[in-house]
Symmetry: C2
Subunit: 304 residues, 2 copies
DNA sequence: GGGGATCGTGTACATTTGTTCACAGGAATG
DNA sequence: CATTCCTGTGAACAAATGTACACGATCCCC
């Protein structure tokens, strides 16, 4: 158990990597790596005994300003990679806090949610994870709803459901056909009865989000003309938070905005300047009642 | 609660000191210090989940070779300060392992024991701490038996006893007078009934230990001539582990070697080349049956 | 048995962390 | 009111830690 000896020498006796390497007859770099492994595998556990959250003030203020049930804020950092991980881990914390054993969780398609899945701690609570919309083909990272559900299910020892349909059908008719499929229908019905929705919130800037980037400019213009300011789990909404019906909307295979709104816990996960407008609407119109964002976005929302 | 926020940003989100400083608007150096404080005060707790001890093999071997009940080994490091702290913390661990609630602990005068007291964790078990010998005047650090007992008592919410007498009386007659004092007698009687003795083991090299360094060269030569190889809690012993009686011994105010030997748990705390001979004798003659030492000393003992 | 991927390793470097020092403000003391 | 002694602060430096890269071994597949 070299790992354990190294970990104890470092954390309990305060020796340096070099000193440990010398007494144990291995290279310093190896000690460095063993220590990293010890932290990752949980051999070394670091607990911060603090009840209050990092941005308690802003969280309280945001909840009050938009009538939200609870808000979680992650620290914004210049290093984007680090910021993303921190954001995801706060998202995971938020979801874990709302998740009860045997819960049914509806999952929106979103890179943010995918990152949360990565960071989700291994807690066996046997929940069910259900996509609220179909898959996008040609996704590089595993952000497809099904994979996402699988990732969550693996970590919670729960069940993952598959929605055998595309997010965006070729035509309204094709979408209707998909929705009529018993396999699709069943899963969507389950999603509609979920206790908790976890979804990203998308803006309308070019190239934003998984759905928009798969569309052409023409379709995007039409959406904007129809008053769209953002989307929640594949459904666009206008400045009042009402659904933007139209050619695009009819092609989406998934729960409608009203069905999403009927889910009791609606956790929105989003950050960044490009999402501010969409966020403001989603929050003030009650599309989501739980929010995970980062400190910069939080401050911008409060300032607005 | 700046401390807590900093600690969480660092340990839970992996931000660097600089990044934390930027988001919180304080200097990086302040973050560094807050983090150190968080670790010291226990706001941040680091647990290494490893059952086996660092030098399990050597500990087993040493116990077998000298017929000891248990052995604890701390890592030897070039950095003397660090080595001393590691040694002391292992000593504290050892003592804590042997200490039961309401135990009576006899304390030998020794810098090693003093360091252990510093590192002793705050565990309320209401033990009594009793010196086995009188005080040395003009000690810089707080290694006097009474202070030592106080330090332990404070950390365990226990009781400290004071032996109102010098370690070394001016004459055998003065020592006898001290011993006849009811206050002294009472405390020593309590010490003799202790469950556990904690004492350093001293060598006979010049300047070694608190007792020897307070003697002149002549007295040291006499001791050597009488066959002394080391001391335990102020009492010198010869190569057989028997007491070296004589002018010096008669002036010591404290428990005799036989009384010390009658204490069930006898924890010896010593390390270093200069103590090897004394240690060998103390171990093989059964003066102590529990040992705390460092890895270099352990290896030397095993090699001999 | 050769080619290629993969893993573990250490070197050299970049980054992060910790420490020393000198200074400034504020409380205690003359 | 001046002086001294703190305590807390950051700048500059020293040390420790982490990372990119390149090398060699091993395993696997052809």
């Amino acid at each position: 158990m070299l790992l354990g000896r190294v970990a104890r020498m470092y954390y309990e006796h305060g020796l340096t990597h070099q000193e440990i390497a010398d007494t144990l007859g291995v290279s310093r770099i190896r000690v460095t790596r063993l220590l990293a492994e010890a932290r990752e595998t949980g051999v070394v556990e670091i607990i911060v005994h603090v009840e209050e959250s990092l941005f308690a003030d802003d969280e309280r203020d945001l909840a009050a300003a938009f009538g939200l049930r609870q808000v979680w804020i992650s620290p914004s950092v210049a290093d984007e990679q680090k910021a993303a991980r921190a954001f995801a881990s706060v998202g995971a914390e938020a979801l874990a806090a709302k998740l009860e054993p045997d819960a049914v969780v509806a999952l929106g398609l979103s890179t943010a949610v995918a990152l949360v899945a990565e960071e989700f701690p291994d807690h066996p609570l046997a929940a069910s994870f259900v996509p609220v919309a179909g898959s996008v083909s040609g996704l590089v990272n595993g952000a497809n709803p099904h994979e996402l559900a699988l990732a969550f299910a693996r970590r919670t020892n729960g069940r993952a459901f598959h929605l055998p349909a595309p997010l965006l059908a070729a035509s309204p008719e094709a979408a209707a056909a998909s929705l009529a499929d018993p396999g699709v229908r069943e899963v969507l019905e389950l999603a509609a009865r979920a206790d908790t929705l976890v979804a990203g919130i998308g803006g309308t800037a070019r190239g934003q989000g998984l759905l928009l980037s798969s569309l052409g400019d023409a379709e995007r213009e039409r959406l904007l003309a129809d008053g769209a300011v953002g989307d929640l789990a594949g459904r666009f909404f206008d400045a009042d938070g009402d659904a933007v019906h139209g050619a695009l909307d009819a092609r989406v295979v998934g729960l409608g905005l009203d069905e999403l709104r009927a889910i009791p816990n609606r956790l929105g996960i989003a950050r960044g300047e490009t999402k501010l407008a969409a966020l403001r609407t989603a929050l003030s119109s009650g599309l989501v009642n739980l929010l995970v964002t980062d400190s910069d976005t939080a401050r911008a929302l409060l300032a607005g």
